[in-house]
């Protein structure tokens, strides 16, 4: 627990104090004179919209950004944090949103990377490394094999390896950035237990998150940042959702969970999928196929949700529909009654299918190029005459999209890499809309974006459905899935287990059908028998 005793607090120097931290990236000010402090044993949540400066502030503490103004004190001592090495020496470790393990190295090699135990002058003492790693990991509730490459571990386990790495480095200040964004519910709960225990042992923990529920479940203290400034720090007990959101966005926003029925037409299906399946590239006896016997149909104006735990095959279904697995996938697809061959993005685009990918930075955007270039890319040919791109047409398209999607940017030429996550996501959606699709596939459309942008994306999805698009939505956030979908197909390990109507929705039902060993609706259980 947080040292509740006033006396210890007064005598005990702060674990970490950052004073008047300012940082600019070129012309944009990321942080303006931000103060931040955390005690030993405290779990301190850092919240704010995307672009508020949370990650930047903590990267400074972790020595990942070297050029800033302001001062940093660790346990009362002034320190220069100009490299990750400096931070490690000061006992600070950061677990970043994108995990920074070396995928091909084994668990213990990763944990001791840069701090290897040596046998002689340069021989690594694997045996004692493994032993030490096992001891630490045991305290973290990790009991798996250590002599495997970390790429073989689940994301949740990889995260524990990162924590172990920090603990072996004797970190007393642990920073976690969006630690749960890729974790299942069970893994999240386990991680919380680990965090609470570490705090009780005196480790100071900075917890950056978008998810309010997590903040309330964990934090002793909450600091809110907005536009690179500290808006306020409140004790976790006093914090409530409404106030925090107000502090984060600086204005009242309409609660986003308003019910809103999409007008589904009763016409014949816009998208029809029969017996979709996808081979597992690394087949196991338990899981020869990543997706098996999935059939559904989506009407124009309908939002069709795909639910399930991590690894249930949601993303894979969308990928197969977009033609990203030619050769290893099977099944029949009709768009507006016309059969479509699953050959690749070129064909999918020509048939009116568009995909918003799960990872906007990896698959969605050219971060070094402007908004206009990104938006125009899928339709470069229609923007050009005789192979020469007409700049006026490109600018027009970009500007109308920026207006329609309310993208916040200096101008249409601003590079997408410098946009906040929410605006980046809007550009990705815009890239799909310019092709005038009839079927829109959305994979985690609001991952890692702030509340305000989330509400806008939700509104947009509703609007697109009203315009008559057939939308397939894959999401790991149950509230999102429940709010947006007209029907939900629940998947478990690549197979459908239930098709739910709005009247049957509840997080509990969906989880019941999604979890291994849970219930299966009768019409899907038949499939089970035939296999």
């Amino acid at each position: 627990m947080v040292p509740s005793d006033e006396q210890t607090k007064a005598s005990d120097p702060l674990a970490l104090q950052m004073r008047r931290i300012s940082k600019s990236f070129g012309p944009t000010r990321a942080l303006t004179e931000v103060d931040f402090e955390i005690h030993r044993g405290e779990i301190h949540a850092l919240v704010g919209e995307n672009g508020a400066g949370k990650t930047t502030l903590m990267k400074i503490a972790a020595g990942l950004i070297e050029d800033f103004d302001g001062e940093i004190f660790v346990h009362g001592q002034g320190v220069h944090l100009n490299s990750p090495r400096d931070a490690t020496r000061a006992g600070i470790a950061m677990i970043q949103q994108e995990l920074s393990l070396v995928p091909e190295l084994q668990v213990d090699e990763n944990i001791f990377l840069g701090q290897e135990k040596l046998q002689s002058l340069f021989l690594v003492d694997r045996k004692s490394q493994i032993q030490a790693a096992r001891e630490v990991l045991k305290t973290l509730d990790f009991h798996g094999a250590l002599q495997v490459p970390v790429s073989k571990l689940r994301v949740g386990e990889q995260q524990l390896v990162e924590i172990a790495k920090a603990l072996i480095a004797k970190a007393r200040i642990l920073i976690m950035d969006e630690a749960t964004s890729a974790l299942s519910i069970n893994e999240t709960e386990r991680l919380f237990q680990v965090i609470r225990r570490l705090a009780s042992e005196g480790v100071a923990i900075v917890y950056i998150s978008h998810r309010m529920e997590e903040v309330f479940a964990l934090a002793h203290t909450v600091t809110v940042l907005r536009d690179g400034r500290r808006i306020g720090t409140v004790p976790g007990k006093e914090a409530n959702r409404r106030d925090l959101i107000r502090m984060m966005v600086g204005r009242e926003i309409q609660e986003m969970f308003s019910e809103e029925k999409n007008a589904t037409s009763t016409e014949k299906p816009m998208l029809e999928v029969r017996n979709l399946s996808l081979e597992n590239p690394l087949p196991t006896p338990m899981r020869p196929m990543l997706v098996q016997d999935v059939s559904f149909s989506v009407r124009a104006g309908e939002v069709f949700g795909l639910g399930g735990l991590l690894g249930a095959g949601r993303t894979e279904i969308l990928q197969v529909l977009y033609g990203l697995h030619p050769g290893t996938s099977e099944g029949d697809i009709w768009v507006e009654g016309n059969p479509v061959r699953l050959l690749g993005p070129v064909q999918a685009k020509a048939r009116g299918i568009a995909l918003v990918t799960e990872d906007r930075k990896r698959d969605g955007l050219i971060l070094g190029a402007g908004i206009d270039r990104n938006l125009g890319l899928p339709v470069t040919r229609t923007l050009s005459h005789l192979g020469i791109v007409l700049p006026g047409r490109e600018r027009g398209l970009a500007q109308s999209m920026i207006r329609e999607l309310n993208i916040q940017a200096r101008d249409s030429e601003q590079t997408t890499g410098s946009l906040s996550g929410g605006n980046q996501q809007k550009v990705v959606v815009g890239k799909c809309l310019v092709t005038k699709p009839r079927v829109l596939l959305l994979d985690e459309p609001t991952r890692g974006i702030d509340v305000g942008a989330k509400a806008e994306i939700y509104r947009l999805i509703g609007e697109l459905a009203r315009r008559g698009l057939a939308i397939v939505l894959a999401s790991s956030e149950l509230p999102e899935l429940i709010r947006l979908s007209d029907r939900i197909l629940v998947l478990r390990e690549g197979r459908p287990t239930a098709l739910l109507d709005r009247s049957e929705y509840s997080p509990e039902t969906i989880l019941e059908y999604a979890s291994p060993g849970g219930a299966i609706q009768p019409e899907f259980s038949k499939l089970e028998v035939t296999v």
């Binding site: 004073r19 050219i366 040919r381 005789l386």
Partner: protein, 430 residues
């Protein structure tokens, strides 16, 4: 006042490449020796023309290399391709009848003609349609057929025309058509292996580099390592056009270089193809998912690179009056250096043809200045290497960062005790 300064500073930073060239040029003038008449040798029109002539081979190759590097690839085979072009050109010019050279060049260019026509005709016809342009795959079958037929006819004419020259040896025009066609074919093949095999461009073009040199040597046969080209005696006199001076100042190879820079610079900046090149270099996966035919674009850039490299081989033959199988050895590194000095990112997606042009000139003037100062050629290598490193460091903006880091290290930390923590409550936040 401060605002004005920052505006000026930004402008200087943006145009630093040109300033680099200007400084180098100024150094050239200052350092240059003076001839007997008291004129500055560096500034003599003859010397300036020489620089242009010397850079043009490297420059033409660098143009193709820019396209390849912008897609995030690299082409190490250009030097060998230049050697091959040089050998082919010399053989076609000096040997009559069906030799290894003509057996290679004529059928290859025929095949290239057929393929190009049947690809380009549907592409152009869909682009000609009233806006918006239709996707290529919607081109009608008649158009496709027309393309193929046109290709066959053109190839037939080409074969007839070139074979009719076999007895009297090749002319300038036929060399300028067939040799780059061979380069285009081999480059396209390289691109095909890279894109369809999903292989690293580095290793594929490295293999091609080794293999193509072998082909160039095989063509020459074992006895004849070098083919001298004596225009007027064993080859057509007209071939001298390729080493002439236009208006007594501008060397013809320089014109080829300038045209290549302008043409591909335009394509890069304004065409859809150029957009695709940048997009692939910026994020290949995003480009693929946006429905761009990444593989086709890759094949095209390697084909263009091969074509330009073999064209450089033809110009080399004209310049040095010989065909030899090691004409282009090491050229690939000069071209890559020029592209990188020009500010193009080796990871792809960022860079311009203007940058490459300036990079090539910087390289050329540097060599010229060192030559005029009569500096030991081994020292020249060391200096050039140093300049490449310095240019790239400046381009990447790392130098400024070092300075800032030094400042941060030496900055005095506040000596006051840390403040007492104060926890705000919601009330006084308002």
């Amino acid at each position: 006042m401060k605002g004005l300064l920052t505006v000026v500073w930004r402008f200087l930073l943006k145009t630093k490449l040109f300033w680099g060239l200007a400084v180098l040029y100024g150094m050239g003038i200052i350092l240059s020796p003076v001839n007997r008449k008291g004129a500055n040798i560096f500034l003599e029109p003859g010397n300036q023309a020489d620089v242009l002539r010397q850079v043009s081979n490297n420059g033409i190759i660098a143009v193709g290399m820019t396209l390849v590097i912008l897609t995030g690839g690299i082409d190490l085979s250009v030097g060998s391709m230049m050697s091959l072009g040089c050998m082919l050109c010399a053989m076609l010019l000096t040997l009559p009848g069906w030799t290894a050279g003509s057996v290679t060049a004529i059928p290859t260019s025929a095949v290239v003609t057929v393929l190009l026509c049947s690809y380009l005709v549907p592409l152009i016809s869909t682009n000609l349609q009233r806006t918006p342009a239709k996707p290529v795959e919607q081109a009608s079958w008649t158009i496709r057929l027309l393309g193929a037929v046109l290709g066959l006819v053109a190839a037939g004419l080409l074969v007839w025309w070139t074979t009719s020259q076999l007895q009297t040896k090749f002319g300038v025009l036929s060399v300028l058509i067939t040799v780059p066609a061979v380069g285009l074919a081999i480059g396209g093949l390289t691109g095909l292996v890279i894109s369809k095999g999903k292989l690293q461009p580095f290793i594929v073009t490295l293999a091609m580099m080794v293999a193509i040199v072998g082909v160039a040597r095989l063509l020459g046969g074992e006895t004849a390592a070098v083919y001298p080209v004596y225009t007027g005696s064993n080859a057509t006199e007209k071939f001298d056009i390729l080493r002439a001076l236009v208006l007594q100042v501008v060397p013809v190879p320089g014109i080829f270089f300038l045209v290549a820079v302008l043409a591909f610079g335009f394509i890069l900046k304004y065409s859809a193809f150029g957009r695709y090149i940048y997009a692939i270099g910026g994020n290949e996966q995003a480009a693929r998912l946006a429905g761009i035919r990444v593989d086709q674009v890759k094949v095209a850039v390697y084909a263009i690179s091969g074509m330009l490299a073999s064209l450089a081989g033809v110009l080399y033959t004209a310049q040095y009056r010989q065909g030899k199988p090691d004409a282009g050895s090491g050229v690939e590194l000069d071209a890559i250096a020029a592209v990188v000095i020009g500010g193009t990112n080796l990871m792809g997606g960022k860079g311009t043809m203007t940058g490459t042009f300036v990079g090539v000139l910087i390289f050329g003037f540097l060599t010229n200045i060192l030559l005029l100062k009569n500096i030991n050629s081994n020292i020249q290598f060391v200096l050039k290497g140093g300049i490449i490193l310095a240019a790239v460091l400046l381009q990447e903006g790392q130098v400024g960062l070092w300075w800032k880091r030094l400042r941060a290290r030496t900055k005095k930390l506040g000596t006051s005790e840390p403040r007492k923590d104060e926890i705000h409550s919601l009330q006084n936040l308002g």
